[in-house]
């Protein structure tokens, strides 16, 4: 049916060209540089129109000599020319600086006049991307568009970031589609088997592979109406990136280099008053720091027993069993400084472009070399791009672009991981020096074990398991390398079949190989006591092809139409190979599985294909009313059913009805209404119930088929041959205003969307014979406001300045989970980010304190809160109430200045690091000493008499003051697991930051011209220099769980950085 409809439409549209033939007028349209291809020529008051060819030539049938030709081109001021009796006409168009700004690129990559677009979008220009001087592209988008939220994961060099537009649209993830020059770009952030979501290392986001210098502009399309052409790929919105092309004219060259100095921006504060141990007594192998008061020790060297076992560090230092702790030394700062440093990033970018009327070329190369704020963390990236355009003849032209990207990075283990850096460093007692982390252990018989790991819980290195890593071991002995090779290629042909009909054939290839190696030598934590080598290779290839026909008509006087018909095919496949080699045969530093006695290999393949046919027609009535109608048909290999997505957008420029002149305060006004649908294809290969191997475990007693020689069982998770697309509908309404000769621009949008048929594994009762069943069952909705402004408050020859910014809100609610109590996006039992019906998506679930009906604490006999054992409660919401950004951009002569503040308000963070460190007794909050002015009880119920000076804090939970001491912090008031009151780990993580501040000076003029250069720009930029937040110890803009849907949890997550960046840009 749909086939017929499309063919029918196509036929009608194609045949409509043979109409009306009167008198032929030929002409050429030029600007001051030469002929202008693609300009529109219409006979005013009629539907007769033409488009100029590559030589700027057109041919049009004028009905009579009174005809007036209206010639327009995006970015130029339109002109009207009377035909008279002329048969050839030369028309000059001049650039309209104002209009040039207002050109936008549609989701398909075609240029469009901004005021004609009725969907809501934001434009981020190249200067603003490059001006951020971020080593990764994604982070440079932060704060630049309403409704766009960028959340970092950590300051690991090259670490990925989460991009979200208008909140989360599906429990199965809703990363926006990235389209570069009309071709989708893979922006995956794969965790893999070797590095868990909650632990392991920060993985990269693949969008960061591209060279930021290649970007000409970025547009963020937020609504479903704009994305519906992309169907199931555009559930989370579309980010359209346009890259630079060569231009006809002289060779242009630029070389830019920047140097960035990075520093940790927030540190967890630790106590330095009390030593390792418990109950106020020193213990050299204790996990906690609830030991003796360091200043009360005798001082001097520790008393040791030199008769038996000992540890000889690499530098010859000897460590013997401590029999009496005398030393008063504390190492908190020196330990920190051994692990962290000032990071440094240098990059060089080269850019060459030029061309002739026939063809242009573009070449760029970049090199980035970054050392992170954690020692040994690195990121190297090289990119090369070559692009050209070529005009074969007057109807055929093509452009092609190829990029090669190569990067490598060593990441540092973090998170819920006993081999992670922060876990070992922050739990480390103040009185333990981490310096000698490796050496030889001699047992009491004198048997040596070389390369032993010395950690604070094993200060003699006398066991194979260090319990927790010494952070120096984490950075120096372990490796977590990733090497990425990526090729991006695209080619497109443009066929000008008739003046009003263009065909575009466009094809893209995106292929990468991500080769990750994780190496834990013998005696590492995280279960790698016997050594572990893991190699995980992702090979990802995506091919996409589009056939597009573009048609322009004038249907009647003042009514023009553009029709786009297209078909698109995509094929995405990924192979994952995983090798795990454990139980090393000897203590080797060779990073190769050959040293292991136990090797396991796994392979996973996935492939999804997608076919779309789309049609879009946009009508413009008298530059007043715009109406866009779209219809997309899509089928995917993973869906049992195909789907049709409609979209409608209407824009009314009602200011055009008002006869405004230059003196009226209002310059422009438009109202927009839009409706659209998008979807999400099911993950591939979910139809069947296959056979699997299995492990059977009741409680700490797993036995596996593999270990018994292999075997199979029918999978307990049932496949579903009826899986279909998840569907999102979105309604939006917006207003755009410009005042005071376009000096003040305001734009506001309200949207509401709902996603239905979300895929969710439903738990089954065991007697059904299966464990779970995947179904299209869940629903959620989002709604919010977006507001953008830009005010040119000074506009003079030498001095201009504008105030710009955005504000947005998003409120989500999970409306249906098919009876499932909660869907957890994160692992672990302490605090989870989950979907719960009736709650915003991603709420924090965890153990809470018992409360009375009036909301006050239900206290125990001693006045302390009690644990509510009735299960997890919603204890926080990581979604902000609103986000916003505001900045000032100013230019004075050759100076330019930019400052941008960003804020997020009302978001909660589970500060699990702080809470766990309370239990461990290392956090500064629990290192205080108080002198009691009245008798107080502690959690155990012991009364501590007035006048005593004790370690602890005084709090009042409603029944008078109580003493919080070790008995509280190591039971309910600190630590991990479901049996502490995790509610108290939640903090208000609202933040405001100075996202960016920069000053540029451009050296140009005759002095420079003499050297043959165009200009030299100098810049200094500060990133993240100031942060205002109630959260102590860490920048709240991190996430233990990487770039997934789960967020708002921080647990020994690697910290963030602030930077100062110096740049020089030489233009030729």
């Amino acid at each position: 049916m749909i086939k017929k409809l499309f063919l029918c439409m196509l036929t009608i549209l194609l045949s409509s060209s043979y109409m009306l033939a009167q008198r032929t007028v030929n002409g050429t349209v030029r600007d001051n540089t030469g002929p202008l291809p693609g300009a529109t020529v219409v006979v005013k008051g009629t539907s007769i129109g033409a488009t100029t060819d590559f030589d700027g030539k057109f041919s049009i049938n004028a009905p009579n000599n009174n005809a007036i030709l209206k010639v327009s081109f995006i970015g130029y001021t339109s002109v009207e020319v009377a035909v008279g009796d002329k048969s050839t006409i030369e028309i000059m168009l001049s650039e309209d600086a104002q209009a040039l700004d207002e050109v936008v690129v549609t989701v398909l990559g075609f240029k469009e006049k901004r005021d004609d677009v009725a969907s809501s979008y934001s434009v981020i220009n190249a200067e603003s991307v490059l001006g951020a001087k971020e080593p990764t592209v994604i982070n440079s988008l932060a704060g630049k568009a309403a409704g766009l939220s960028i959340t970092g994961t950590s300051a690991d060099p090259g670490a990925g970031s989460n991009i979200q537009i208008r909140g989360v649209s599906s429990i199965n993830g809703s990363a926006p589609l990235i389209v570069v020059d009309g071709i989708p770009l893979n922006n995956s952030n794969l965790e893999g088997l070797a590095s868990g979501l909650d632990a392991g290392v920060s993985q990269q986001s693949r969008l960061n592979d591209i060279n930021p210098d290649d970007i000409e502009s970025i547009q963020v399309f937020k609504g479903a109406s704009a994305g519906s052409l992309y169907g199931s790929q555009a559930l989370g919105g579309v980010i359209v990136i346009t890259t630079k092309r060569g231009k006809a004219g002289k060779l242009k060259a630029s070389i830019a280099t920047t140097l960035s100095i990075d520093e940790i921006n927030r540190k967890h504060s630790l106590q330095t008053n009390y030593g390792q141990g418990s109950n106020g007594i020193y213990n050299a192998t204790a996990a906690n720091s609830w030991g003796d008061k360091i200043s009360s020790r005798a001082g001097g060297e520790d008393t040791v027993n030199t008769t038996g076992q000992y540890f000889e560090a690499a530098d010859g230092s000897l460590y013997y069993p401590i029999t009496k702790k005398n030393s008063q030394n504390v190492y908190t700062d020196s330990n920190f400084d051994q692990v962290f440093q000032n990071g440094m990033a240098q990059d060089v970018k080269l850019n060459l472009s030029g061309g002739t009327e026939k063809g242009t070329f573009y070449f760029s190369a970049s090199h980035l070399n970054q050392e992170g704020i954690m020692k040994q963390s690195t990121y190297f990236k090289n990119t090369v791009t070559f692009g050209n355009t070529y005009k074969f003849n007057d109807w055929l032209s093509s452009s092609a672009k190829v990029s090669y990207i190569n990067s490598s990075s060593n990441r540092i283990q973090q998170g819920s991981n006993t081999a992670g850096i922060y876990l070992g460093l922050l739990r480390n007692p103040a009185d333990f020096d981490i310096s000698d982390y490796i050496g030889t252990y001699y047992d009491s018989q004198g048997n040596p074990t070389p390369l032993r790991h010395r950690s604070y819980r094993r200060y003699l290195g006398n066991t194979t398991n260090p319990t927790y890593n010494n952070p120096l071991w984490t950075i120096n002995e372990q490796k977590s390398d990733t090497k990425v090779d990526r090729v991006l290629g695209s080619i497109d042909f443009n066929i000008q079949a008739t003046p009003w009909l263009n065909f575009v054939v466009r094809s893209g290839l995106d292929t990468y190989n991500d080769d990750r190696v994780y190496f834990f030598p013998l005696f590492s934590g995280d279960g790698a006591t016997n050594g572990r080598y893991q190699n995980e290779i992702y090979k990802n290839t995506e091919i996409s092809t589009d056939f597009i026909s573009l048609m322009n008509f004038n249907l009647a006087e003042n009514l023009s139409a553009k029709v786009t018909l297209g078909s698109a095919f995509s094929d995405r496949q990924r192979k994952q190979i995983y090798v795990e080699a454990i139980d090393f045969l000897f203590n080797s530093r060779l990073i190769n599985p050959s040293i292991a006695s136990n090797i396991d290999e796994q392979e996973q393949n996935r492939r999804i294909r997608n076919v779309r046919y789309y049609g879009q027609s946009s009508f413009d009535y008298n530059d007043l009313l715009n109406l866009n109608l779209g219809l997309t048909y899509e089928d995917a290999s993973s869906s049992a059913k195909s789907i049709v997505y409609p979209s409608v957008e209407a824009g009314l420029k009602w200011s055009n009805l008002l006869n405004l002149d230059n003196d009226s305060p209002l310059s422009f006004a438009k109202v927009r209404l839009a409706y659209g649908e998008v979807g999400l294809a099911p993950d591939p290969h979910g139809w069947e119930t296959g056979y699997e191997t299995a492990t059977y475990s009741g409680y700490s007693d797993g036995i596996s088929l593999t270990a018994f020689g292999g075997g199979f069982r029918l999978n307990d998770d049932q496949g579903n041959p009826y899986l279909e697309f998840e569907k999102k509908k979105e309604y939006e309404a917006g207003l755009d205003f410009r005042f005071f000769r376009n000096k003040l621009k305001l734009s506001g949008t309200y949207y509401f969307n709902e996603t239905n048929d979300m895929l969710l594994p439903i738990s089954l009762n065991p007697s059904s014979g299966f464990d779970s069943f995947l179904g299209n069952v869940a629903s959620l909705e989002n709604k919010g406001y977006e507001f953008e402004f830009d005010y040119d408050f000074v506009k003079k020859d030498n001095f201009s300045a504008n105030f710009y910014g955005n504000v947005s809100t998003n409120k989500s609610e999970v409306t249906d989970l098919a009876g499932v109590a909660s869907v957890d996006f994160t692992s672990g039992s302490s605090i989870k980010s989950s979907a719960v019906v009736g709650q915003p998506i991603g709420v924090l679930l965890g153990s809470a304190a018992m409360r009375n009906s009036d909301g006050s604490f239900d206290l125990d006999a001693n006045g302390f809160p009690k644990l509510d054992t009735s299960g997890d409660k919603v204890i926080g919401d990581p979604n902000p109430d609103w986000r916003g950004a505001a900045g000032i951009r100013a230019n004075y002569k050759n100076f330019s200045f930019n400052v941008l503040f960003e804020t997020s308000q009302g978001n909660d963070l589970a500060e699990r690091t702080r809470y766990v460190l309370y239990g461990f007794g290392t956090h500064a909050d629990v290192g205080n000493e108080v002198t009691l002015t009245q008798d107080l009880k502690n959690y155990k119920g012991t009364t501590i008499t007035a006048g005593s000076t004790v370690r602890g804090n005084i709090a009042d939970y409603g029944a008078g003051p109580v003493l919080l001491d070790e008995s509280w912090y190591t039971s309910l008031g600190g630590g991990f697991g479901g049996s502490v009151i995790n509610e108290f780990a939640i903090g208000d993580a609202s933040w405001t930051r100075l996202r960016e501040i920069s000053l540029n000076y451009s050296l140009k003029g005759n002095f420079i011209k003499k050297t043959g250069l165009e200009s030299i720009d100098f810049s200094v930029t500060g990133r993240n220099l100031a942060l205002w937040t109630k959260i102590k110890g860490i920048d709240p803009d991190v996430n233990q769980f990487g770039t997934g849907v789960g967020k708002g949890v921080e647990y020994f997550t690697n910290p963030s950085s602030k930077s100062v960046v110096f740049g020089i840009n030489i233009n030729y």
Binding site: D635, I703, F708, S768, G769
Partner: protein, 466 residues
């Protein structure tokens, strides 16, 4: 000219793409997993699921509740005192219904191999009988037919298990006795052994339903040697070579929960301890070596103990069959039959082949004579009737001989219902009631509208013991 040319190209390519579309998209078959595995290869997974049902988490809990072990820390500390949640039954229910029944349905439907089909049916009967014993009324007859299966009466489940065992015996009877299925890790696919196991299971279930004559008759055809006993990994040569193919006691006593349970100081441990007041050692009996063998503690893992990585755990044993003959024989034929059968078991124990343990420690299981059970005899110090004294000793012997299975929990509940005066004096861990069942799995409560509401609590007797 150009126009027409391109029009045609577009028409043709659009047409081609529409026509080719379905084939182009036909790539969703899972490339990572098999969807057609020979049904016989599912047997091993059923065996592992069954091992977890019979010898895993809930069996260990049954030991806490019958004085065979003690839960001393964390979860096991709480469960030891009868604080248990329905979640603790989730895994066992999944193992039974998905792990055993879903797989067996495929085997019965797709396999032509009666040897495998017979074994698979015995495993299902073994699992479902234990489920009925632990949980009382459970879904069975509608499993695999209805999403929300009805709960069958406990007695009906036992009856269905008897029928299934008969089917299995027929299937295995049709197979040449020399045939083997070597993928069977329990009995090496020996049909003769499996038929004996089926008869012992029939006898076990007849004991539960107190049909002693039937039990006796079936036990006569039951397991007749150590080698025909059903034991975890009894026919797997690599047993205990890596963690995931090891003895379940070994795993928990050496894993992260190692300190949470122990046999030391348990009622059973005291019973075997010659120096304890409640010791069952006497002039004819020395349990020293067996006590060593049955010691389960994180600090006492040894290669000759039941906690060794490769110590075979009993599932359906020769000892159990001998003692069914003793009890059922006593109940259906009288004192002498009971005594003869008990002495047969003691003679077997005396060979030293029944269990390992520290070989330097003595064993002694001399035959009893009738006067030992007469008032004042060595097994009747409290002057009860000889019949009662014999039954008491048979049950006590079975309590020790069937250690590491669910049988002591079955028997203890049954004997308290039928012969409470001679029931073992196992201490109650908390409160004043003995647990009579396990709780229905939380996953079943959540997903099956036929689940009883409220679910029967721990102290409600199952149908057969009411």
């Amino acid at each position: 000219m150009m126009k027409k040319y391109f029009k045609n190209i577009i028409y043709v390519s659009l047409l081609l793409t529409f026509l080719g579309c379905e084939k182009y998209l036909d790539i969703n078959e899972d490339p990572n997993v098999s969807t057609d595995v020979p049904a016989e290869l599912l047997l091993k997974s059923m065996e592992l699921a069954d091992v977890q049902i019979q010898s895993g988490h809930l069996m260990r809990i049954s030991q806490f509740w019958t004085g065979q072990m003690r839960g001393t820390g964390n979860l096991y500390g709480r469960i030891n005192n009868y604080i248990i949640a329905p979640e603790d039954s989730n895994d066992i229910w999944a193992f039974m219904y998905h792990g055993i029944m879903t797989q067996n349905d495929i085997i019965q439907e797709n396999s032509q191999n009666d040897l495998v089909k017979g074994i698979a049916n015995i495993i299902e009967a073994h699992g479902i009988g234990s489920m009925a014993s632990m949980f009382g009324d459970i879904p069975y007859s509608q499993v695999g037919i209805e999403q929300n299966a009805a709960f069958d009466k406990q007695a009906d489940v036992y009856q269905a298990a008897q029928v299934l065992l008969n089917t299995a015996i027929d299937q295995l009877g049709s197979v040449a006795t020399s045939r083997r299925f070597t993928d069977d890790i329990l009995l090496g696919g020996n049909p003769v052994s499996w038929i004996q196991v089926a008869y012992t299971l029939k006898a076990r279930y007849y004991m539960m339903t107190r049909e002693y004559g039937e039990a006796y008759q079936n036990a006569l055809l039951g397991v007749n040697s150590k080698n025909n006993s059903l034991r975890y990994a009894g026919a797997y040569s690599g047993y205990g070579t890596t963690n995931e193919n090891s003895n379940l006691y070994n795993l928990i006593l050496s894993g992260s929960r190692s300190g949470d349970l122990t046999s030391l100081g348990s009622f059973n441990d005291n019973l075997l301890n010659a120096t304890n007041a409640t010791s069952r050692n006497n002039a004819k009996t020395n349990e020293s070596r067996r006590r060593d063998y049955l010691t389960l503690d994180q600090t006492g893992i040894k290669s000759n103990r039941l906690s060794a990585a490769n110590a075979q755990m009993p599932l359906v044993s020769y000892e159990e069959n001998l003692l069914i003959l003793a009890e059922a024989g006593f109940r259906s034929s009288g004192f002498n039959e009971g005594l003869t059968r008990l002495n047969a078991l003691r003679a077997y124990l005396a060979t030293g082949n029944a269990f390992a343990g520290d070989a330097t420690l003595p064993i002694k299981y001399d035959s009893y004579i009738a006067t030992d059970f007469a008032a004042g005899g060595i097994e009747n110090a409290d002057n009860i009737t000889a019949d009662k004294a014999l039954l008491r000793e048979i049950m006590e012997e079975k309590y020790v001989s069937c250690f590491a299975t669910l049988v002591p929990f079955d028997d203890f509940r049954r004997i308290r219902a039928t012969d409470n005066s001679i029931a073992l004096q196992i201490p109650i861990n908390a409160g004043n009631l003995y647990p009579e069942r396990f709780l229905i799995a939380q996953d079943e409560i959540n997903g099956n509208s036929n689940s009883p509401s409220p679910i029967p609590d721990l102290f409600v007797k199952t149908q057969v013991n009411q």
